[in-house]
Amino acid sequence: MTQNDIIAPENLVYSKPELMNDTTMHYCPGCSHGEVHKLIAEIIEEMGMAEKTVGVSPVGCAVFAYRYLDIDWEEAAHGRAPAVATAIKRCWPDRLVFSYQGDGDLACIGTAETIHALNRGEHIAIIFINNAIYGMTGGQMAPTTLIGQKTSTCPYGRDPEIHGYPLNITEIAAHLQGTCYVSRQSVDTVASIMKAKKAIRKAFEASMQGLGSSLVEIVSTCNSGWKLSPVKSNEWMRENMFNVYEKGDLKDTTNIK
């Protein structure tokens, strides 16, 4: 079998979504961001919304998300993505508007914007990458850093006496009246990737049907920040994060299959 046979359309089993361009990603090898980017690109294409989507990127590792997906983007100030997305959606109700944010952006500096956009029931979807650490600035403590987890600003491990407790903002979101769909997923296995895709798709659909706001948390790895190999990072995540950040739908009032 030659290479041409392999890439013949009838033999094609996988292709990169059209909306994803060929720009080399700045993400570290093993990082979860690339996988989630791809899912979002696939979903926008499948929904036929390529020309009607505006993404809002955060401050953090995903600050350059706009380089990789060929849709219109606004890059928000640190933590303000839900406010930016609120305005875009209110001004353009027929557009698909989502924000893409990390734990520091969404659950720390932007807590107010996150809670209030969700509680207003804005017709937006928020994609939340939780890797329990500040990746972009070099591995500092995040609001979601686990008790005992070592980071550069809690080098002896997170101590609740000093640093307080991990913030489980997704659980909070599920209790807000404005949310219609709140889910927590991961992208560490093929099966989990399929589930994460379904969840993001539901969040996007719900926003276009005007059912309320949605939050999809992706429990993610940061092998550079955690100082582990990509494989070990996945193991560490399963062992340590999944029991604190339990996967599954926390709330679903959408009736979307």
Binding site: A50, E51, K52, T53, V54, V56, V63, Y66, L69, D70, I71, D72, W73, E74, E75, A76, A77, R80, A83, V84, A85, T86, A87, I88, R90, C91, W92, R95, A112, E113, H116
Partner: protein, 362 residues
């Protein structure tokens, strides 16, 4: 004709009516004294049922300005209004808007500071407005209304300038102008722009990408120093163009004057009376009123100062615009300052006495 009807209303109310009439697409704001009538008036007028304008009470001034960023980045005419402490909270967003070159409008109905300060009027935010309270090298177009009529007229003007230059524009008012009632002729109704008109006027806007063009990215971020310097140089060139083309000011009885009072906003209204009182005493005084605080009318002041004996800058602050006047005239004639602080609004006679003691009888 309905649009020519003379109404009696507060400056704050005039802002709300003017925003709807000039085809604004959205208002995002957070209540703060002395400007809460703006959002209250908008909520009562329900423009979402008539023009389709969005009105939303945000969770904070921080959120408000970032909503303006979001809406402006998608090509819409969006404004927010606040007062001094709230405007302080917005500085990050304003800097981001300047960096991303977004055409939003914000109104500051100033009150006394620093800190939580007082709810009484002040002009203490002149530096914040004209120097840029946020980070980086940037400028905001600043219009200073001196009447309820100008509150109404400057909303559309601010949007026009903001979109002409893709730059944030501020209306720097204060508690006097916001709260006082005057006669006003509201601007005529102008329809909101259609999607087609927005695409044409704002080909850079992030509003969904048709296959025919590349993605539009709204950002102020650039990690390459070489590229970032070029972006900054382009910004500076834009600011130079604004300085060359958009200076606005007004002169009153300056031709035969020996002395000139320079004042903006409510202080200029008060100083008009001081000019009258001084002339009754035989002292020839004129009034120069900058309408744009940035770009500042430096050339006009230099021209005006020729042959004059002195300038008194009357402000409701500790001496802020006086620095720009001194920079402009560069030591060629005495420039003195008079101001009241803490929310005290001066009486015309106080400005008159200051001019006499600091310049005439010196």
């Amino acid at each position: 004709m309905e649009s020519q009807e003379v109404k009696l209303m507060k400056g704050n109310e005039a802002i709300a009516h003017a925003a709807i009439r000039c085809g604004a697409d959205a208002f995002f704001g957070y209540p703060i004294t002395p400007q809460s009538e703006i959002i209250e008036t908008l909520a009562a007028l329900k423009p979402w049922e008539t023009t389709g304008m969005v009105v939303l009470q945000a969770e904070s001034e921080v959120a408000s300005i970032n909503m303006v960023y979001g809406g402006a980045g998608s090509g819409k005419r969006v404004l927010t209004t606040s007062s001094s402490p709230g405007i302080a909270l917005m500085q990050e967003g304003i800097s981001y808007m300047a960096g991303a070159e977004l055409p939003g409008v914000f109104v500051n109905v100033q009150r006394g500071g620093p800190g939580l300060g007082t709810i009484q009027p002040s002009q203490g935010d002149y530096f914040q407005a004209t120097r840029g309270g946020g980070n980086g090298d940037y400028q905001v177009i600043v219009l200073a209304p001196a009447s309820v009529q100008e509150m109404a007229d400057f909303v559309d003007l601010a949007f026009t300038l903001a979109f002409r230059y893709r730059n944030p524009a501020m209306i720097l008012s204060d508690g006097v102008i916001g709260q006082m009632m005057e006669k006003v002729v509201l601007p005529p109704m102008k329809p909101r722009r259609t999607e087609e008109e927005i695409s044409k006027e704002c080909p850079w806007a992030a509003m969904g990408r048709p296959k025919s063009r590349k993605p539009n990215i709204i950002t102020s971020l650039e990690l390459s120093s070489e590229v970032m310097e070029k972006r900054n140089i382009l910004l500076q060139e834009k600011y130079a163009e604004i300085e060359a083309k958009e200076v606005r000011c007004e002169m009153h009885q300056c031709e035969d004057a020996d002395y000139v009072i320079v004042a903006f906003g409510s202080a200029a209204r008060i100083a008009e009376k001081s000019v009258e009182l001084l002339r009754e005493e035989g002292i020839k005084v004129g009034l120069f009123r900058p309408i744009t605080l940035w770009p500042f009318p430096s050339k006009e002041i230099v021209e005006l100062s020729k042959g004059k004996k002195g300038i008194l800058v009357a402000e409701i602050n500790a001496g802020q615009m006086v620095q720009d006047v001194r920079l402009a005239v560069n030591g060629t004639l005495p420039v003195e300052h008079f101001g009241r602080l803490g929310g005290i609004v001066p009486d015309p006679s106080e400005i008159m006495e200051a001019l006499k003691s600091k310049l005439v009888n010196k």
